[in-house]
């Protein structure tokens, strides 16, 4: 075969591909248009049975039956969207039970062990809507999925499915997860506080692995679990600084005199991160008695501690703000600059700074 012939073949193949791509694009546009029209028509037909069901004039089955007319993938998305925005919590179990009778839902959940991760993702999303306690084993497998997207989607199903044993295993894995994922998990665990608190109380002992302890202390604070926070407070002198920092961040969530006393002690910690967290906590607790201690800490060698201490003073009412204004003429230029910055901020900026 000559070089010319080879080129001619390449050119023909390319031309054929180009034509195929153009045909594909044309057909795709048309299919998309028809699909969009059909989805929109079905969507508008969904609201009537949904409204009737929620008003007690109809059954959930009528709503679920209307979902059938959507393509499988769209039905899941639409139902999920409505569940989040329009269906109150009290109706979710009824919806889940009705959905479980639907072949398309059973089929989707049945793909939880599929080799295709897209199908496992759909199963996890389906469980968030139609999961039942009996699905705990399936959900656990999805939570441990090698594909992070599947594991993240499975987190949303936890409140529907999890039992004590699964919650315990989830807590044991907290230390191994990246912090963003842990925080995302907090959202689901918040809906299961009664299951989480006893499991946390058992785990919050000083002999536990430090990294896990820090994560559990953080969780106790975020979920504001009083019994667990009692245990967290006992860890204030833990040898690991990141555990002490987590303790300082957690106990500020519950305003108690004991918390303020512990945080005042922590202002003298050897680690600057712990001192900064303690100052932050004293500000959040609005503990007026902390003003003298914070006035000392504004001279700390660490920028972060000075910043947090000055900010905390502004949270302590007029006496604290007066103290900050006085610091603007401090002989230490670092202290004076910081006080001038903080004293000049408007209320919104201050709130942003405190939360950040």
């Amino acid at each position: 075969m000559t070089a010319l012939a080879v080129l001619a073949v390449i050119g023909l193949v390319q031309g054929a591909f180009l034509v195929l791509l153009m045909i594909f694009l044309g057909v795709r546009q048309q299919v998309h248009r028809i699909h969009a029209i059909s989805v929109n028509a079905t969507l508008s037909g969904l609201y009537e049975p949904l409204g009737k069901w929620l008003a007690g004039a109809g059954t959930v089955h009528e709503f679920v039956a209307a979902l059938r007319y959507l393509p499988g993938h769209s039905a899941l998305g639409v139902a999920g969207n409505l569940a989040r925005t329009a269906i109150p919590d009290g109706y979710r179990t009824e919806l889940a039970l009705a959905l479980r009778e639907e072949p398309w839902v059973r089929r989707a959940i049945g793909h939880a062990a599929s080799r295709q991760w897209g199908r496992r993702l759909e199963a996890a999303r389906c469980l968030a809507l139609a999961g039942l306690p009996a699905d705990a084993a399936v959900l656990e497998a999805l939570l441990n999925d090698a594909r992070p997207a599947v594991a993240i989607a499975a987190i949303n199903a936890l409140p529907r499915v999890a039992d004590e044993a699964l919650v315990a295993r989830v807590l044991d894995r907290l230390a191994t997860l990246p912090s963003t994922v842990v925080r995302y998990l907090h959202g689901s665990l918040r809906e299961m506080r009664s299951l989480v608190e006893p499991a946390l109380v058992i785990r919050l002992v000083s002999g536990a692995p430090p990294h896990a302890l820090a994560r559990w202390a953080e969780l106790a604070g975020v979920l504001e679990l009083p019994l667990a926070l009692e245990r967290v407070a006992t860890l204030a002198e833990h040898p690991e600084p990141h555990v002490r920092e987590a303790v300082a961040q957690a106990i500020r969530r519950v305003p108690r005199k004991r918390s303020a006393d512990i945080l005042l002690e922590m202002l003298h910690d050897a680690d600057p991160e712990v001192r900064a967290a303690a100052a932050h906590g004293l500000g959040d607790l609005a503990s007026g008695s902390a003003i003298p201690a914070l006035m000392q800490v504004v001279h700390d060698e660490s920028w972060a501690v000075r910043f947090r201490a000055t900010l905390a003073l502004t949270q302590l009412g007029e006496p604290g703000r007066t103290a900050v204004r006085a610091l603007r003429s401090d002989v230490d230029p670092y202290v004076a600059d910081m006080a001038t910055l903080i004293a000049g901020l408007g209320d919104g900026a201050l709130l942003d700074m405190v939360e950040g």
């Binding site: 153009m22 594909f24 998305g77 949303n156 990246p178 959202g187 600059d337 919104g348 942003d352 950040g356």
Partner: protein, 475 residues
Amino acid sequence: MITPQLTSVLHRTLWWADHAVLVYFLLLNSFYALLLLLSIPELWKHWRISDDEQLSRLLASDALPPLSILVPAYNEEVTIAASTLSFLTLEYPRFEVILVNDGSRDRTVEVLTREFDLYEVPPAYRRPLATKPIRAVYRSRKHSRLVVIDKENGGKADSLNAGMNAARHPYVVSVDADTLIEPDALMRLARPFLLGTPVAAVGGTLRVANGCVVRMGRVVDPRVDPVWLTGCQVVEYLRAFLFGRLGWNTLGGSLIISGAFGLFKLEYLIAIGGYKTGNVTEDMDLVVRLQRYLYENRIKAELPFIPDPVAWTEVPSDRKVLSRQRERWHRGLIGTMITHRDLLFNRKYGVMGMVAIPYFFFGEMLAPLVELLGYVMTGVGFAIGAIDTRFALLFLACAVGYGTLLSFWAIVLEEVSFRRYHRRTDLLWLLLFGAIEGIGYRQLTVWFRLQAFWKFLSGSEDWGVMTRKGFGTPT
């Protein structure tokens, strides 16, 4: 008079040069084909995840890390108020906007002061990166998330460094003052965090805003500009982002995260000394140094590209400005490749040393020279009758056809995934520009890039004036 000996020498030279260009063409296009194949599963992955992604749940949680958005601004008095407001109203749980006025000669600071009720605060923050002197730092009484730094002129890199010094959050997003970011783009850009991927940087997609309907700093109706020069750039951007960068995701070693819309881990940027002033394409230089730092310190952190977070940018709409932009980009590429030439085929740097740098060196930096060589050899070949006309025309058709195929593929990827353009006429314009881009526009950009070699050798560090028309509503 051409002697038989000279003709013979020319024939032999042509034979070798033709074969060299042919091998180069085959290798480069095979690599493009590889990127194209690798982009498919990546795009499917992101499309599948982004579909039904619970962004509202994320917005209400504190899962995502707080961000500092860095906006360098120079002489932006006309657009600065609208663009700053569009940054401040982005959907993301916790962020601050640090706008750095780079010694503007117009009334940028005055406009900001009036619109956002700015007041001066002392610059009480650490400054690990050296920058030009800071004149003042302002905060806004109306928008607590806004910080404005007024500094002496030092260029974009210097402004970004000043912004990094003031950043309070662990991740920074660099954007241009005239970039229009889609409201949910930051949350989408932060997807790797949620997926638990350790990241050093994340790149988002840039699209062409020319021709789109823009209201209040937002693209409300994406359209393809039916003007040849900008229309060709729409296809060019789709190709570069939708399969070029997605393909690199799988290979690893990506060297480009656009300075107009990219997210970086502040700790790493500080460790490498921030942006390098004096480099005309500071973003590529930064990413190469960042990759280098990660390799040398054995830090396992990725630099993924995410296709669905979109920012819109105005591209040059006349030849002069396009010429300056492309010449500057290529000069920056040459500078970066020369500076980091020790990485070339350096096994110590893994994929970056063995694949990415060689690709950018031979496949991107030298491409205009090789293409010029191809055109010259073809001309000489015709002149001395050494080239079969049919072969030359067929070869040209195949080369242009392959480029068109890649463009059409990018359009298909767009159409089956995120579908930003809804009208049938837009699709037709995309196909038309994809088909004609290979003749005329491509040669024009080759010429602009060739000029970069001359400017680089003459030691120019000039940015050139980038005049823009601004956003509006097309009639």
